[in-house]
């Protein structure tokens, strides 16, 4: 062959290189690549974890901010409700007190009226008695005695009125 090309030697070189390539792949290339892949996976996982945690923290922060913003509104709402309730209660109590006062006044009026009627009734009867007694005395003839009796009867009736009052 020209240029000393020898197929046997070409095959020998091929055989030699194939063995070398195979051994280099298993001894050096694959383990180093595997380690590098493992390391990048580890760092990717770390980065992912950090990202997840950051996102969680962001979410928590947003939640708390929203809740803080709502707190003022909620406080206002509750205060209004309480004030409204207090006003209603006050109105109710005032209404009740007024009704009670009116009932008491009505009752007092009724009592006073009844008492007055009673007193007027009692006084008429006494006057009728006194007039009867005086007429009786006159009829019986002793004016002085009748007069005395009239006075004492009148005095007695006045005392009784005072006592009743």
């Amino acid at each position: 062959m020209p240029l000393n090309i020898d197929w046997q030697q070409i095959l020998l070189h091929l055989f030699n290189f194939c063995i070398l390539a195979l051994l280099l792949y298993f001894l050096l290339y694959k383990p180093v690549k595997k380690f590098m892949a493992k390391r990048s996976a580890f760092y990717e996982e770390q980065a992912k974890n950090a990202e997840d945690k950051l996102r969680e923290a962001e979410e928590l922060k947003n939640n708390y901010s929203a809740r803080l913003e709502n707190v003022d509104l909620e406080i206002d709402k509750k205060r209004n409700a309480v004030l409204h309730e207090a006003a209603e209660y006050r109105e109710k109590r005032i209404g009740e007190a007024e009704a009670e006062a009116e009932a008491l006044i009505e009752k007092a009026r009724r009592d006073a009226k009844r008492e007055r009627a009673k007193i007027i009734d009692g006084a008429g009867k006494e006057i009728a008695d006194m007039v009867g007694a005086a007429a009786e005395k006159l009829v019986l003839g002793s004016t002085d005695a009748a007069y005395e009796a009239f006075l004492s009867a009148a005095e007695k009736s006045v005392e009784e009125d005072d006592e009743n009052k």
Partner: protein
């Protein structure tokens, strides 16, 4: 500043003196007669075959075996003692290993975004093999040839058989990628570049051989054997080790990416129809 100038001047003077001594004490006529034979041997290895279990092989194959053994031993030591102690925060050596793997893996992913698992492993092995085997010629290990003479083991890829093996294997890997990604269409795409294995093989061979020839040429003349080999051998070898590694893995990755790219159906007819419908 003065000290620095004096030191530079001294080094330059030494180099010039060494070159002058070389020129004066060497016989150029005698050496020029041998150089063509040396060059021919460097290319064809007709007179420096080495016995390998009964087979007569080129020195490049012995170099390939030594390089492979060294790389495998290094990989095994790293696998047993270093990789189990890898840390999340890498040390210098771990960083170095990770950088190498990431570099080849990155090239595979960058040039072949659709299918690159196998390609990454292949370019890693090929890249390391080309780089280390090219640097191997710096050591200059001596071996005994079949004829009983001494042979300096050069870079494995300066042997055309090694270059052809790697070129064709790269093409085969590209073909496999095409089949895995696109089936028969992938085969068609790969076969379209039928000259690729030859061009890759001869590019590798040519680059490595030229380095070898330049080094041979420099070493052959006594006059050039002072100081100059330090620059020529080390710098040239380092440079073309890097360049050839990069070129082969880039070419393989690019073609692999091209053939493994998913097929997109052309929608010319549909577009034309819609255009006419719109115009109507």
């Amino acid at each position: 500043m003065k000290k620095k100038t004096i030191a530079v001047a001294a080094v330059v003077a030494l180099i010039m003196a060494a070159l002058l001594i070389g020129i004066i004490f060497t016989d150029s006529d005698k050496e020029s007669a041998d150089i063509s034979e040396t060059m021919q041997d460097a290319v064809l290895h007709e007179n420096d075959k080495i016995d390998f279990f009964g087979l007569e092989v080129n020195p490049g194959f012995i170099s390939a075996l030594i390089v492979s053994a060294a790389i495998i031993a290094f990989a095994a030591i790293v696998r047993i003692f270093v990789i189990p102690r890898f840390k999340l925060k890498p040390g210098k050596f771990q960083m170095f290993l990770e950088c190498i793997v990431s570099f080849f893996d990155g090239i595979a992913k960058q040039n072949s975004p659709h299918k690159n698992g196998f390609l990454g492993a292949y370019v890693f092995a090929a890249g390391i093999y080309i780089f280390v085997s090219t640097l191997f010629e710096l050591i200059g290990i001596q071996w005994i040839s079949v004829g009983g003479g001494s042979v300096t083991l050069g870079a494995p890829l300066s042997d055309i058989n090694a270059a052809i093996a790697l070129g064709f294997l790269s093409y085969f890997v590209i073909l496999i990628g095409g089949i895995a990604a696109n089936g028969l269409r992938g085969v068609g795409r790969t076969l379209k570049d039928f000259s690729l294995p030859i061009s890759m093989s001869f590019r590798l061979f040519g680059a490595l051989l030229s380095g070898l020839l330049v080094t041979e040429l420099v070493y052959h003349y006594m006059a050039l054997s002072f100081v100059l080999p330090v620059l020529v051998a080390v710098l040239f070898t380092l440079l073309h080790a890097l360049i050839q590694t990069y070129v082969l893995i880039m070419l393989t990755s690019l073609f692999y990416g091209e053939v493994s790219e998913p097929h997109v159906k052309k929608q010319k007819n549909k577009n034309k129809k819609t255009e006419t419908a719109v115009s109507e």
